[in-house]
Symmetry: C2
Subunit: 371 residues, 2 copies
């Protein structure tokens, strides 16, 4: 029963966001409850960075484009969600981001061997809090984990990280007892939850954990499992050219690890272009329509409710490649407002359609679906 | 004449360290001025980390071993130097470290195109100060350079680096004018002087500089030259297992750069195992003997004064590989106190001799050279 309640608790978050987001969602979509006959036969998944926003600034006529998905009376006429490899927790629409992808795969993992095992969470913000919230019991952030080991980071004297709580909790240097016996208890899994901040330290400590079977500084041992929430090599932020993402960190870690260890690094990456993410989005859109159209879930089952789902993205390798891998009902639209700036279609990952902006994409979709 | 004076100024530093070190050196070696007939026919080069020290603690009987290189009256009987890829500026003996290797190759570069060009220096400590001291005129540390560009590091909000002067000099966010016109003047070279601290930011900014021809955020352009002072993948520090070195940073940067750019990264690495470093050490030992034995330099020329130079190191790939590549007069001795812990010889880079400690190495050398 414990597993089941965790499973469904997490599942609902994955679909409709945090409790606060769910409340906003119910407010926004409550007037969308219609009879089944009016159920829309298409849906839209938007990437955020480089399509809807650059940094915090709307781009490509995105506010106007999104407004067109609503009727004049404010009721939603086209179901959509945001499908991002970044963290977009402040959105009031259904958003599938890094944390949601993690949550989605946690559903698969939490009922297996990790729930009561010592794990390490890596990334900006509060990665351990995310994991604890979703049912893991023995989680340490890599900041806290590293603070147990004197001299694990030979460059620490040159840093004064902002994560002050970690420094305050530097058990080892203060002679305090660690929360868990990290010197004899192996780390059983490492989870890169969001973009790592201190790459040098994190790569060093991950290499220590992974090559020594979860016990840094000890003999080489079997590599514990390693998971990444996303695998974006680059993404479009405020700076004029793309910024390196979690995929770049993964490449750096992998190439270094493979240089110092005889067995190549093993890992699992979630997030786009992983087909799992698109299937998950299909399921969320289907449940959304089921929910708002009052169609009994038992009647719908897990079958996709749509003839077409449009993926609007700026990143050929991530957005377009992912949608193409899944195939029907996905239709890929590539904008020129982010990572992709080419005149013609992308050579390696050609989209079904290339447009300048998200506004143009909505133009195309609404014209096509109206006829 | 300017070039010449800079050249020789730098050359003397490369050989005998900073002015303070030179003074200590003269004090230590002044009683070693002997007639040519007593000139020693062998010399020794010691690696430091994992051979002489672990962190700041002497290992392998190194104090006793070094003492045996002096006569009972305190005069030096065996010429030696330290040949490290780390920073060992506090030593009072002739030491060839990261900075010295840089200085040595600066001798080659400073008389070429870089003297008056904008360059960026990367690494812990004060990398720009090192470059300025040796005659470069337009140097910015990567901390200062990055501070000119808003949003170049999307994770900066999660950091509060100890390099406060850089934050105080954040020209851009304060609306101040930068020291150089970094927005239109291309960076002509990047120099990794010592171990980088903020790997994520440094890899991001280096990728920006290198792929955009020295103008971050602009169109792709020809890659400016990139230099590394060393290429150590790992080194033995205080932590029980090896720590990642500058070579690991280079591998991470290279693999990421090659993933986002069509032309592979071009770079030059100095430091061991680069044969240049061993040739440079030969030259320094030769000049040292020339100096202390009052042999006219013109008589010696650049010819090596030794039948044998022993390289005592703990790192097969760096110390042993480097000495073997150069060949005569180098003889490689591998200790088991650092990176190498094997029972037999190293498989890929076998040494001429394997011993437990630096004390055992000195035992062997003195016995062999006395007979």
């Amino acid at each position: 029963m414990r597993f089941r309640s965790v499973f469904f608790g997490a599942a609902s978050r994955a679909k409709l966001g945090t409790p606060a987001q769910q409340q906003r969602f119910r407010r926004t979509y409550s007037h969308l409850r219609r009879p089944d006959s009016e159920r829309p036969c298409f849906g839209i998944a938007f990437d955020i960075d480089g399509v809807i926003l650059r940094g915090r600034t709307p781009i490509g006529g995105s506010p106007q484009a999104l407004r067109r998905l609503y009727d004049a009376d404010g009721s939603l006429k086209v179901p959509f969600l945001f499908l991002t490899n970044g963290c977009a927790g402040s959105f009031s629409f259904p958003t599938v981001g890094q944390q949601d992808n993690i949550i989605a795969w946690l559903l698969l993992l939490i009922i297996s061997r990790f729930e009561n095992e010592l794990i390490v969470a890596i990334g900006k913000g509060e990665p351990a809090a995310v994991m604890l919230e979703y049912g893991f019991k023995k989680v340490l952030s890599i900041d806290d984990y590293a603070s147990y080991f004197n001299d694990i980071d030979p460059l620490s004297q040159y840093k004064s990280w902002g994560l002050k709580h970690s420094y305050e909790r530097n058990y080892n240097s203060k002679g305090l007892q660690p929360k868990y016996d990290v010197y004899s208890e192996r780390v059983k899994g490492a989870f890169v939850v969001s973009d790592p901040v201190d790459w040098g330290r994190d790569i060093q400590v991950l290499c220590d954990i992974l090559r020594c079977g979860g016990l840094p500084g000890k003999e080489n041992g079997h590599q514990p499992p390693l998971f990444f929430a996303a695998d974006d090599l680059e993404y479009q932020a405020v700076f004029p050219s793309e910024r390196l993402g979690m995929g770049a960190f993964r490449i750096g870690l992998e190439s270094i690890y493979n240089s110092i260890h005889s067995s190549p690094l093993e890992y699992t990456s979630f997030g786009k272009p992983n087909p799992f993410v698109f299937k998950n989005a299909e399921s969320i859109l289907t449940k959304l329509v089921t929910h708002v159209c009052q169609v009994k879930e038992t009647m719908m089952g897990e079958k996709c409710a749509f003839n077409t789902i449009y993926m609007i993205g700026d990143n050929p390798k991530v957005d377009i490649n992912g949608a193409k891998k899944v195939g029907h009902p996905w239709f890929s639209i590539l904008t020129r407002t982010g990572v992709f700036r080419g005149k013609d279609n992308h050579e390696q990952y050609p989209a079904d359609l290339v447009v300048d902006t998200v506004g143009d994409a909505i133009d195309f979709i609404l014209k096509k679906e109206c006829t």
